[in-house]
Amino acid sequence: MTELYNQISSNKWKSYLIVLFFFLLVGAVVWLAGYFFAGFGSFSIGFAGVLAIIMALGGYYWGDKVVLSMSHARPADEKEHLFLLNTVEGLSIAAGLPKPKVYVIEDEAINAFATGRNPKNSSIAVTTGALRKLNRVELEGVIAHEMSHVKNYDIRLATLAVVMVGFVAILGDLLFRGMLFGATGRRDEDRGNAGAVIMIVGILFAILAPIAVKLLQLALSRKREYLADATGALLTRHPAGLASALEKIGHDTNQLKTASEATATLYIANPFKNVSASRLLSTHPPLEDRIARLHKM
């Protein structure tokens, strides 16, 4: 049990550390913009900021409806999905949260996701493949994982990450174009060797910062997945349930048809199975790692 609590606190502080790096990166890019753009520095910062926030607010308030309709989710039926509904209600009691709305997605792949900006406005969706192929204990583990995302405000955190990524991407792009075409507005006396070095550093930073912030976002997503595994195990007091479900997911060859890149982070398992990209570029930690950690709890 101690291991469980340890994993929860370690993943929590690691994700706060990542958020700190986010803010530092954003701060650095903002400073750069102010330095290079002199006159229109605040305009470019404001522009990037407003755009990013509008994107994020849209996703924040309407994101759950969009995701649910994109997945062709239908509300769970009282008669057909009684076990699912009872399990969600039971786990809400264990978590001290209001009951989320429950949806079912017609798909052979084993997967589930949670969405919603806060516990009062949350929804959970489960595939028919999951309902058919997982036994009761495994399904409980999966639902507990999804409820943990709601409980830990992961959707809100992910939205914040999206704002940061968008902001840095837009501002970085503006910086890059501005510096490349010499429209920096810096006065002549700053040119010369020192000025050139700073320019090069600035351009490199403008190219690398959007990449770095994207890597931070993926790292944050992976930490929150580990945290949801551990918090879910604390809810069911039975880590083996989720471990067993993840093993089944690992052996299942079906690919979730309605997943898109935008929604991949919300699912319990990476819906894109054939992604051979490195671990740093994945929204989810490797299944073997997750199963190993669950067995240690």
């Binding site: 009684l82 076990f83 009872n86 039971g90 009691i93 264990a94 978590a95």
Partner: protein
């Protein structure tokens, strides 16, 4: 001289803010524990409410098993009338054992087992048993959080002022820990 006065005012204000935050935090935790305790009763009552329906459904297919029905109904009344924690524990255990007998008897009636109504009720009862367990778990988790807070520094100072005492954990009673008997 002025700087010292301003410094003192700032420190006092910070202390007041800290006190308010800690106080409110303790109130939140305490009310959570109280709510969690009453939630257990909500689930127990829900289980009790499901039983008359279950008995009627089974009677429809297995009219002659009078003993079984009477035992279940009696156990349910006993639970609803129980007052002390010990009485409640014993009555709950008795109800569980009579229900198990009921379901064991239902195995002999294939028509009953196949009936959708019966399957629904079985699932509902099983779900309610889980919810009772989850409610007790949440009560214990909230109690742990509260007990930790009133003992840790600096929240224990405020807790002392409010005269908050540690709350008891929900333990399974001795009768609940024993294996449930099924009797025909």
């Amino acid at each position: 001289m002025d700087l010292i006065i301003i410094g003192i005012i700032v420190i006092v204000v910070l202390f007041v803010i800290a006190f308010i935050l800690i106080y409110n935090g303790l109130i939140t935790m305490k009310t959570r524990v109280d709510n969690a305790w009453s939630q257990i009763d909500v689930q127990l009552k829900r289980r009790a409410d499901l039983i008359p329906n279950l008995v009627e459904t089974v009677k429809g297919y297995a009219k002659h098993e009078k003993n079984v029905f009477e035992n279940v109904t009696k156990a349910r009344s006993a639970l609803l009338g129980a007052k002390t924690v010990a009485e409640k524990g014993a009555a709950a255990n008795q109800l569980t054992s009579t229900l198990k007998t009921l379901f064991a008897v239902a195995e002999n009636y294939p028509a009953l087992r196949a009936s959708e109504n019966f399957k629904q009720l079985q699932e509902e009862l099983s779900g309610t048993e889980s919810k009772i367990a989850y409610a007790r778990q949440f009560y214990n988790d909230s109690t742990m959080e509260f007990n930790q807070a009133i003992q840790q520094i600096p929240t224990n100072v405020v807790a002392g002022m409010l005269a908050y005492k540690q709350r008891e954990y929900f333990q399974a009673t001795e009768s609940e820990k024993k294996a449930v008997k099924v009797s025909f």
